[in-house]
């Protein structure tokens, strides 16, 4: 039985939480002697005020959608996959191999091929911890942390010793061939007569990410597999009763999870950098945890949280460009947003619930209503 109407829960609570985060951020900005109003203006106009800003915001959001979905699907099976970072790194390797060694005739085929490779590599990297958890009882949180470090070492080795073009200073692969160049939002929207900034890196991967959100929503809420994954996540004992195999669900959920993390690489590696560089993931795997938690593991929530983080990244970049505010301030703002919307949400919800209860009582003067059917 809900105390609050759904709109209050879905809109009001996050909004007030964001507001609180903003107020505290403003205080921090004041604290380091800058003007918070100007800073917010700059962030908003820089991130959302132009197609250019949107192009960057959406580019970052695309990364976070993939990693957020990665964490979310695992959460549904009650698995805490901290390994999105490593899985995304391996996904990058998959994309690089696909783009460098297969002569693609057209970007669309390249996208499909590279996405498949990325997913396979990411999934493989998640499958090992999944297997160890399912069969050996190794705690997935530790193994995925360890696999992040191992992935970094593997990638470092491969980039420095194998894929780096001879004589190149950069521990990165060669540039991918032109045939693998993905259309940017500018290219996609131009035929529709929409002017979109040419410079921004947001590309067709955004659509793939949105498709992944929808795919995941369908998977989780509309398919038997999703039903089984959620059931397992809620209650392992009940899942066993229903004939749902814990090993199977653990493996499948983690493989999908790793595959999604891996697919992030089509955005940052194939779409933006067009080559694989060291540390291409830049912590997006960890941001994915925050995104999934804030989005309550719901694909729509992940989508919105990813956009919010994309906004913070791009807004923060604009701040860094035009003011002398240090980049660490952005980290602090992110922390406050995560804290207020994700962990201190009850601080907002509890008083709101009281208000709504009081309103309800006022509206129904006779509280003689039959109690709603009780729980045990």
């Amino acid at each position: 039985m809900d105390v609050m109407p759904k709109w209050a829960e879905v809109v009001l609570v996050p909004l007030i939480s964001l507001l609180l985060a903003a107020i505290l951020s403003a205080l921090v900005i004041l604290g380091i002697g800058e003007d918070p109003v100007a800073a917010v203006k700059l962030m908003v106009s820089g991130a959302l005020g132009s197609t250019y800003g949107w192009g960057y915001t959406l580019y970052y959001a695309t990364n976070f959608m993939f990693t957020g979905l990665c964490v979310a699907i695992a959460f549904h099976a009650r698995l805490f996959n901290i390994g999105g970072e490593g899985q995304a790194m391996l996904g990058g390797l998959g994309v690089a191999l696909a783009c460098l060694y297969i002569p693609w005739p057209h970007w669309s085929l390249a996208l499909i091929g590279a996405a498949a490779m990325a997913a396979v590599f990411g999934a493989a990297w998640a499958a090992i911890p999944a297997f160890l958890q399912a069969k050996r009882g190794s705690h997935i949180v530790i193994t995925t942390i360890m696999f992040n470090f191992i992935a970094a070492a593997v990638l470092n080795y491969i980039l420095v010793n194998m894929l780096r073009p001879q004589g190149s200073m950069d521990p990165a692969t060669a540039r991918f061939p032109d045939a693998t160049k993905l259309p940017t939002l500018h290219d996609i929207l131009a035929p529709l007569g929409i002017e979109f900034s040419k410079a921004a890196p947001a590309n067709i991967s955004l659509l793939v990410a949105v498709a992944a959100c929808i795919f995941l929503w369908v998977l989780i809420w509309r398919t038997r597999l999703g039903y089984e994954i959620r059931a397992y996540g809620h209650s392992e004992s009940a899942a066993k009763y229903a004939g749902i195999s814990p090993v199977k669900i653990t493996m499948i959920a983690m493989i999908i999870s790793g595959g999604l993390a891996g697919m992030m690489a089509i955005n940052n590696v194939m779409g933006e950098a067009e080559r694989l560089v060291l540390n291409a993931t830049e912590g997006a795997g960890f941001i994915g945890i925050a995104v999934a938690l804030m989005g309550r593991s719901h694909p729509l929530g992940v989508f919105l949280a990813a956009i919010l983080f994309g906004f913070l990244y791009q807004g923060g970049a604009e701040l860094a460009l035009w003011t002398s505010i240090p980049r660490e301030l952005i980290v602090v703002i992110q922390a406050l947003v995560i804290l207020f919307t994700g962990a201190l949400d009850n601080m907002v919800r509890m008083p709101l619930e009281k208000i709504f209860l009081a309103l309800r009582a006022a509206r129904a003067p006779k509280p003689e209503r039959k109690p709603v059917e009780p729980a045990e």
């Binding site: 959620r230 809620h234 009940a238 229903a242 209860l357 059917e373 009780p374």
Partner: protein, 542 residues
Amino acid sequence: MSTATHTERQETAAPAIELKGISKAFGPVQANKDISIRVMPGTIHGIIGENGAGKSTLMSILYGFYKADKGDIFIAGKKTDIPDSQAAIAAGIGMVFQHFKLVENFTVLENIILGAEDGRLLKPSLAKARKSLMKLADDYGLKVDPDALVQDIGVGMQQRVEILKALYRQADILILDEPTGVLTPAEADQLFRILGRLRSEGKTIILITHKLREIMETTDTVSVMRRGEMTATVKTAETSPAELAELMVGRKVLLRVDKKPAAPGPVILDVEGLRVVDDKGVERLRGIDLQVRAGEILGVAGVAGNGQSELLEVLGGYQTGKGSVRVNGTALDLTGNKSDGQSRRNHGIAHVPEDRQREGLIMEYQAWENTAFGYHKDPAYRSGMLMDNAAIKADTVEKMERFDVRPPNPKLAAKNFSGGNQQKIVLAREIERNPDLLLIGQPTRGVDIGAIEFIHEQIVALRDQGKAILLVSVELEEILALSDRVAVMFDGQVMGIRDASQTDEKELGLLMAGITDTDAPHSIEEIEDNLAHAGGDPHKEV
């Protein structure tokens, strides 16, 4: 506890407890509405009411677990503020909750002293508690092993620990919330002997139960609650079960199962030499042979932990076993990859598990999602690659109506239904599948009498349609009321199979203790000893 204190109290004759105008709401749910009640010292006061009537809430308020929105509490005539359990304990109140509040991986002794330690160091506290425990054990016959881990002892023992906890804190007022829901008849009898003992010492006891027989046999007065309100308080001697049932449910209730003699058909389930070894390597089933025919109910009786759960699990497909199990003549896979719940369902087996909250339902799932649970691969629930949620919801609405699930809202999460209605959701799901064989464990545990009546009717109706039913229950009364034949399990084996009409509680009770020569006389000690040495893992059945 000096005798002077309670004689004094009896002389003053103030109620041991008086509640005045207690109200409590959980969000929009009004769990208690303006409740007043008096309980006299040295009496046992029963409280009955349907699931969700607010009994546990009221007692939790008295114990300081919840805070009342309104109302006053008087202890021994004095207005007492009980903001938390500490205050309740200080006021001499002890409570045994419906769901035990024990730390499973602590020892009995540690659980007893938790919160009632003397001083900052454990050692002296433990030594002192050990001594008092011995004394309490002697005084009341409450024997427990102080060094056993709570997770390793049976529910009966766990309950003893809870009672000892209260006595150790020198409680004068003891609240027991559905104490017998998980006890065997023998254990229940013992509990009531102890309660009688405590009453004779002047302690006041409040007993919540769904079992009218217990009310009639043990209480002095009884109060009835309905939908958050106290509807009546009567002297037990001046009432009858039928009257109480009516007060509770608001209509006449049939207290006996009304069934025709069975007309057994061919053998549906044929179990031969079934063995199960658990994860720890303990043999839980040691060669079970039994048969269930179409159109009959085979009741499986036994003290919790003697293999009944494993029997259901292996038949239900989520425990591996050795031996032979045939359903309609086809052998079931007991170990391989066809040994799972899905395959069992394909064989026409339906299963109402013993623990609806841990197994039968996903508590966070809505009713309609739970209706598909285990049958989510049914083609009827499918449209293309997706699940046909509309079809499932429609089906749920129908089932909810047929089984009188309240409220009939398919979008309400399972956890928001009362226990009885949760059980109805499971039953509806399994029975409506029209199975050849229905496995059913503890069908009425924690369910109020209105719902029990309904559930029993459904089970008998299914039998009358010619289905085979394997019923596992720790309630001998239920076993005897429903079954056509009764198999008694002890220590992983079937001690004997009796015709329900030819046996009684006494004979079954002895079989349950592993004693087959049921005609010879046996001492309580012998029975207890036997039970104690059975290789059961009673905890599993909690």
